[in-house]
Symmetry: C2
Subunit: 264 residues, 2 copies
């Protein structure tokens, strides 16, 4: 069978953090972004620039030879946008961790490609080792999804929507909740005029150690040691911060429960 040796033509819908990275992180010999769709024509035009792609603020003018339309959009917009693609002959893709694949059921061919990473426009990322989780409506489309993911990464996994949801939950804990703890730590340091930078060596080592030893072997601190004096002195420091006291108490309880049994 003749295989087109040229790059895959794709359309990206969405000019946010994810859309931007999906345009900027492709390997240009494998993929050509030929069309960019954004609510703001200005943003779509800017993102289209790298590939001199066409741009639009509707789904009406997708070039015929586009093999994928990737909906890099908020979860609650995906299903309705997909309905506008009911006649599209290529594969409609979403990139969400939490949204089931069947949100795309209005399309003829559809699949999911979920990259397990946090994206910001201001950070350039190297995606080669980032895990991408793919799923598709049938075996043939799955093969296509794998080809698409391979344009970004060497680390491809096939999982269903249920498994992907659980992976996404673990990512929310590992990114959003960790970042919130850091935000809170920074506030505590601000209060005593200390720069956040003093935590950098600890943060690096915390993550290194958890990756190397496994987090279950890296737990330390007053909660695990059941060091009541320190726990009380910490709660005292937090006496004007009821939310944070609740947080501290709950963490202490969870760490202690976790130490004796498994997570519940």
């Amino acid at each position: 069978m003749y295989q087109n040796p040229g790059p895959i033509h794709i359309c990206i819908a969405g000019t946010g953090n994810l859309g931007t990275h999906l345009v900027n992180s492709v390997l240009p010999d494998k993929v050509k972004v030929t069309h960019v769709i954004g609510r703001s024509l200005e943003n779509a035009k800017m993102l289209a620039g790298r590939f001199q792609a066409s741009f639009d603020n509707t789904f009406l003018n997708i070039p015929k030879d586009t093999r994928f339309v990737i909906l890099a959009l908020p979860d609650d917009h995906i299903s309705s946008c997909c309905k506008e693609l009911a006649d599209y002959e290529g594969v409609v893709v979403h990139c969400s961790g939490a949204l089931p694949m069947d949100a795309l059921a209005a399309a003829k061919h559809f699949g999911v490609m979920y990259p397990l990473q946090t994206f910001s426009k201001v950070r350039n990322l190297y995606l080669k080792h980032v895990p991408f989780f793919v799923e598709a409506c049938n075996a043939e489309t799955l093969h296509e999804m794998q080809q698409l993911a391979a344009c970004y990464t060497e680390n491809i996994w096939e999982v269903n929507s249920q498994v992907r949801k659980q992976i996404h939950l673990s990512a929310v804990l590992s990114n959003n909740f960790i970042n919130h703890l850091l935000s809170y730590s920074k506030n505590l340091l601000d209060e005593v005029d200390m720069p956040f930078e003093i935590l950098h060596p600890l943060l690096k080592e915390t993550i290194e150690k958890a990756m190397l030893l496994g987090p279950e072997n890296a737990q330390t601190g007053p909660a695990l040691r059941r060091d009541r004096n320190t726990i009380e002195t910490h709660l005292e420091s937090l006496q004007n911060k009821p939310n944070m006291q609740e947080y501290y108490t709950l963490f202490t309880k969870l760490i202690q429960d976790h130490g004796t049994s498994n997570a519940r």
Copy 2:
């Protein structure tokens, strides 16, 4: 005034994670560990090996020329051990983040040297950039404490017990609580037969981003977006884990509060 050009002689009491690093991470041209004290003579002997130091399981035989006795011990043992050093002519030091300096008031000269790092015997650490927080009973001793800390790090801060306690609290959040989140993330992945390694690129980027942009500028995710569908689907996934559901709900609330006002 004649300055002894040789290394400072110190005694380490405690053969746990911290004691081990305080022996193994000193710059040998600056410090000589001449005596190691441990409840277990075996452990004390082992740790003494690097410097061919003497070792003991009591505080009775500290060599006369020892300038510091560092109590690398659990917080609740420090005060009582210090009482055994009432006649000691050098400086008695503790390394705790949470314990006030006056826990050492029984000593003639005393001070605190708190290294902001997580220590495990199995990890070799480079302490040169780790912040060390020092405090002392008077100006002269403070100068000595700074000399001692300079044997480990280039990053020395003088803070009082109150400030140190708050720094320690931020470290508990940044290390213990983060590690617990990672432990929980690993459990979630175990349940769907996914290796913890799939989170590594996300974890690295989470920390990098928080360090570079500041955590207050790096927050993302369903809680901040007030994406109720995803939050509900996550809570559903956790329906057999009431502790974790509570945790998730609280984090969501805190992230949302934090987004609109400041931490409370």
